[in-house]
Every structure is written in C-alpha cells, then in structure tokens.
C-alpha cells in the first residue's frame, strides 16, 4: 500500500470515543509503557527511530479534531519530538505546545517511555509501536538487524489496512448485555499536588511469581488480581464508617480482544470485566479470593459474553438518534455518563500486558519494562503489570498521598515468599 492510500483521517473507534469527551485536567486518560535498555539513550538517534517508526505506523502521529458529530483523528505534517522524561509522567495530552499529538516519547538515562492518550490505542497497540521503535533504535545505534516477529513489525513494510481497522464494529454481533452493576468501594486520601502522580513499582522475578501463582492453582494474572483484591479488602476493613465497609471492593480487569478474534488492529480493541468481593457476605480466605477471581474470569472470558459486552457498546454508538446529536451536546452527556458509570463500578483497574513477545536479539538489549496507568478520574489508584526478561514489574500510580493498598499488596507478596524490590518517583 502506498503512503498516498493511507487514510488522511480516521474515525475514532468505539472505545476511543469516550476519552476526548470525558477527559479533564485531573483525568488525562493517558498510559505509559517504558523500556529500560542496557545502554544510555541517544536522543538524536531516538528521534530518527521515532520518525522511521511513524512511517510504518503513521496514525500514531495523528491529532484529534472535533467534527460536527464526533471527534476524529486527522493526519498532520508535523512530527512529534522526543522529550526528556519528567518526575510526574502521564500528564495531560493534546497540548498546543506539543502539536496536539496523541502520544509523546520520553527518555531518561537508559529508558525510553511512550505515553499514549487512550483514544489512539490500547496497551497492545502501544506495545507494538514501542517495540518496533526500540528495534529500529537498536538497528540505528548498533547496526544489528532485529528480525520482525511478535510485537516487532517489519519497519520496511508498507502500513497494512488491518492495522487501523475499528475491530469493534467488525466483530460485534446482535447480543446485548446490561451494564447495571453495584457501586464499588473507593478508598479516600489526601490529594497530591494537582498534576502529580505518585508511583510505586515493585520488581519481582517472573519465574518465582509463576511458581507461587501455580502453587495456588492460578496463573500470574489471576493470582495478582487476588492479591490486589485482598489488599483492598484489608484497607477497607479498617474504614471507620460502617457504610463504607459494606460496599463491595471491585477490580476492573481489561481483556485483550485480539485473543478472541483474528484482528491485526493496532487501535483500541480491548474490553474489561469487574470482579466483586462483597465483605458483607462474610470473611473470605485468600484461597476463596483466588477462586472468586478465577471463576469470574472464566465466565466473563467466554467469547459469547465478551462479544455481548462489546456489542452493547457498539449498538449504543450506532444508535441513529445518538449519531445525529451534535458533538457539543454529546460531549457533556458523555462526560456525565462517564461520571455515572465510568469508575463508579470499580475500586481500581489492574492491567496486565503479560510477558512481552519479542525476538531474542531484541531481548538481549532490554533490562526491563514498565506499564504505568495514568491518574484515574475518581478512583485514587490503578495498577499496571508487564513482564519482560524474567522480570515482572508491578506499577501502582496514585493521586493521593496515602499508599495503604500498595503497602498491603507488596507486604502480602513478601509474606508469601517473594523477593520484591521497590522504587518510587518521589525525591527525598
């Protein structure tokens, strides 16, 4: 496919539509993937690698614009410039000073960090972009050719049409599923300085973690979700208000829909389900919590149920009346819908991108990877997990000073016999 046939503009996909409308100064809808290499980053070469990667995946250089009825992504001649990293990542995107890009690339010592506005893509799309960029950077700095495969695209290949496909509308069916849920428990805290994000990352050995999870009959994802739910429950049990102790603790777990459908899309194609732990029913042992997460994930992970959830959202988007409502009316309504339904039904989100699938030649240059979810809108913290080179990094980002859940989470892992190394973004 020639560059000319690459679309000049793209309609936002189903999941992307909510973000530009609902975002605010405190909720940026930005997440960040970073990779620590074994060598110090050379910014000039990184800029060349970014430019080359944008030739391969051009829509990462698009900007968001307002149409009469919907927002859309529009191509632009400007190219994003690499920036030095900061102490408070995932800050507000779409700034005039940054050319309204939907992504930014940052560097610090040996780290390359990609920050992405969620309207552009999801974790897997961003991971593919970052890995392709890192492979290109390695090629430019060392001359070593990294074979494409896994998360690394062939940089010399033309952009593929399937890569910017809105897979939601392709795979949605007729089935519908109600969205009504019980309100979730939300821990409170003293807000951090506006725009600041508190980060605490725990680094654990993937092999030991897997062994530990398997000893409970679970995989890493289920196990870590259970530990998180257990940590939230322990914090909730110390609440002074009886009413707040009774509200269920719920975690939102994203699902990569590419696992279910043969989509090659690099845009948003993920859904989520919530796991609820209601303490009013009685005391749960840790084994009970693992079973709860495992069985909920089992049911919510069935293709018909996954599809019905996705199709409900697509049906809402395709509603003719809704489509004809002008954007200036839709925006406040979508904002209100997000306030009413968005984070109300879960205490926190835990996103696990799993073990990164990259060629061995590239793996040799990488120390570790991190996934950081940006500040949630009304919840106080969120959790991102990624594994690479036998290291699993569990990163908590929070908008309050208190880190009680993180403390309970990592103490539990230590108690269960894992060695955990902790880092944060504070400077004492």
């Amino acid at each position: 496919m020639s560059k000319r046939s690459y679309p000049q503009w793209i309609a936002l996909d189903n999941a992307a539509k909510i973000y530009p409308a609902a975002r605010s100064s405190s909720w940026t809808a930005v997440f960040r993937l970073s990779v620590n290499l074994k060598e110090k980053i050379k910014p000039i070469i990184l800029q060349v690698a970014l430019d080359n990667t944008l030739e391969r995946i051009p829509f990462f250089g698009y900007r968001i614009r307002r149409g009469l009825f919907w927002y859309y992504m529009d191509s632009q001649k400007r190219k994003p410039q690499v920036q030095e990293d900061v102490q408070n990542p995932c800050s507000r995107m779409l700034r005039r000073s940054e050319g309204h890009f939907l992504m930014r690339l940052r560097y610090y010592e040996n780290r390359i960090a990609l920050e992405v506005f969620h309207s552009l893509t999801d974790g897997m799309g961003a991971l593919t972009f970052l890995m392709t960029l890192v492979a290109e950077y390695i090629r430019l700095t060392t001359g070593e050719h990294i074979e494409s495969g896994g998360m690394v695209l062939d940089i010399d290949e033309e952009p593929q049409k399937e890569e910017w496909e809105d897979s939601f509308s392709v795979y949605a069916r007729e089935g519908r599923r109600g969205r009504a849920e019980e309100k979730a428990y939300h821990p409170k805290g003293t807000p951090l300085f506006p725009g600041h994000l508190g980060l605490i990352s725990g680094i654990v050995d993937s092999g030991s973690l897997k062994k530990l999870a398997n000893s409970y009959g679970a995989g890493i994802n289920i196990f870590l979700c259970a530990v998180l739910l257990d940590a939230i429950r322990s914090v909730q049990s110390k609440e002074k208000s009886k009413r707040r102790r009774k509200v269920p603790a719920k975690i939102s777990i994203p699902q990569n829909l590419r696992r279910y459908y043969p989509s090659k899309s690099l845009r948003n194609f993920s859904s989520y389900f919530n796991v609820s732990l209601n303490s009013t029913y009685g005391e749960y042992s840790f084994d009970d919590i693992i079973k709860l997460v495992q069985h909920t994930a089992g049911i919510e992970g069935m293709e018909p149920i996954v599809n019905a959830r996705m199709s409900t959202n697509v049906a809402a988007e395709n509603n003719r009346f809704l489509r004809l409502v002008p954007l200036f009316i839709k925006t406040p309504v979508l904002k209100l819908m997000y306030l009413l339904h968005g984070e109300r039904y879960f205490t926190t989100a835990i996103s696990n991108l799993g073990a990164v699938n990259i060629p061995n030649e590239l793996r040799a240059h990488i120390e570790r990877m991190d996934l950081i979810l940006g500040a949630p809108r009304s919840n106080t913290f969120s959790c991102g997990i990624i594994s690479c080179n036998d290291l699993t990094v569990i990163s908590f980002s929070r908008t309050v000073h208190e880190c009680d859940v993180e403390k309970a989470f990592f103490r539990k892992l230590v108690k269960l016999g894992l060695h955990v190394k902790i880092e944060s973004n504070r400077r004492e």
């Binding site: 030095e84 725009g195 002074k240 208000s241 190394k421 902790i422 004492e428």
Partner: protein, 233 residues
C-alpha cells in the same frame, strides 16, 4: 541490599516508599550525589495549576466589570461612592461563598466557613455604617452571626467525628442547635432591653429530650434493639 524492616521489601531509597520507615544500611555511605533516582527531578508543567490560576483571574475580571460599572455610574450620578457599595459588597460575598470553595482547596472545611462568615460580617457592617445603624449591628447582627458561625463549626466538628456512633453525633447536633437557639433568644432580648427567654425554651426542651433519647438509645442496646425490632420494615 537494604530492606525495609516493616515491609520486607528491598529498596535503594532513604526511607521505605510504602511505610516511610527509614532504611539504614551501615555499609553504604549516604551520598546524595551518587544516588541514582529512577525518575528525573524535572516536573512537567502542571496544567491544573495553570488552569486554576487562569480561572481565578478570569473570575476576578468578570467580577471587576460590574464593580467598575456601578462605581462609575454611582460616581457620575451622585458625585460620591454610596449605593454602589451594596452591589460591591454583595459581589464580594458571592465570591467568598461560592467561588473561594471552588478555586482554593483547603484540607478541612472550617476555613471556608471562616472566610464566608467574615465577609458577611463585613458586608453587614458596611450596610450598618451607611445607614447609621452600628447600634443594631453591634447589638444584634454581630453576636447572632458569631453564634451561628460557632454553631456551624461545632456541628461540622461533631458530624466529622466518625469514631462517635451516629446517634451520639445526632445528640450532639441537637444539643448544639438547642444551645444556639437559647443564645439567639438571649441576644434578641438583650437588644430590646429585657432578657426574658421564651420561644427558645419551647425549642430547647424537645431538642434536649431528643438528644437525651439518642444518647439513651446508644447506651441501652436492648432498648435500641427493641425499637429497631418494632420499627423494622
């Protein structure tokens, strides 16, 4: 490899990021210059701060327009500043009551009350001065507003005491309202010359009785349970 003695996690930081316990490793010299931080010192431009500054400035500009207009009209029409002070005072009150809580974040709500009541007191003082009514201001308005201010502060304190049982908090609120009504009645009587508490007694008795019932219910678990049983729905 330094570890936190409470959390059991390894960390290179001076204190544990999870529990703030100091990390002491006698084998490692405390040298800040050689410390490697996982994140740089630079902080990204904080847009909310800028937005808030802009919003504060914008609100002041929007308020300044009617202030200047009425001042100008007042000066042109009467040659002095007189009735325009009513408008200016009202605008300042509106600003302190509605915009200060939005634009300025305090950890606890007491400061908002202080600012709100102070602006009200000053506004009423201006009105009193302009109408030669400092007498009613000092004798009536000032003490009543002060009583209301203290009552609202104490009610807030009581309501926010989460370690108290809900019925104990309700009893405290009822008692505070009763006491403040007595104080207001007394102030009104004192202003007219003869202190003779009348209407406040009628309010005081049921409120104190209610507070007593709340406290009794909280202490007598059986009675509480009996009432709960009968009022079950």
């Amino acid at each position: 490899m330094p570890y936190c003695v409470h959390c059991g996690v390894e960390t290179d930081e001076k204190s544990c990021p999870l529990c703030s316990t100091p990390i002491i490793d006698p084998n490692i010299e405390d040298n800040d210059d050689e410390r490697r931080f996982p994140y740089p010192e630079a902080i990204d431009e904080l847009y909310q701060k800028v937005d808030m500054k802009y919003a504060r400035r914008l609100a002041l500009i929007v308020l300044a327009v009617p202030v200047l207009v009425v001042l100008a009209v007042n000066l042109i029409s009467t040659g002095s500043i007189s009735w325009s002070l009513y408008v200016i005072g009202a605008l300042i009150c509106l600003y302190t009551w509605f915009l200060v809580p939005v634009f300025y974040r305090f950890k606890r709500p007491y400061a908002y009350l202080f600012i709100g009541f102070t602006s009200l007191l000053l506004y009423l003082y201006v009105i009193a001065r302009m109408n030669n009514g400092v007498g009613w201001y000092l004798g009536l308005a000032l003490p009543i507003i002060l009583v209301c201010f203290i009552m609202v502060q104490l009610i807030l304190l009581a309501v926010r005491r989460l370690e108290w049982q809900p019925l104990e908090r309700a009893a405290a609120v009822a008692s505070l309202i009763a006491i403040s009504l007595i104080a207001i009645d007394w102030i009104c009587d004192a202003f007219t010359g003869e202190v003779f508490l009348n209407w406040s007694i009628y309010a005081l008795l049921p409120l104190m009785a209610l507070a007593g019932v709340f406290l009794l219910l909280e202490r007598k678990k059986e009675l509480k349970e009996e009432i709960r049983k009968r009022l079950f729905f």
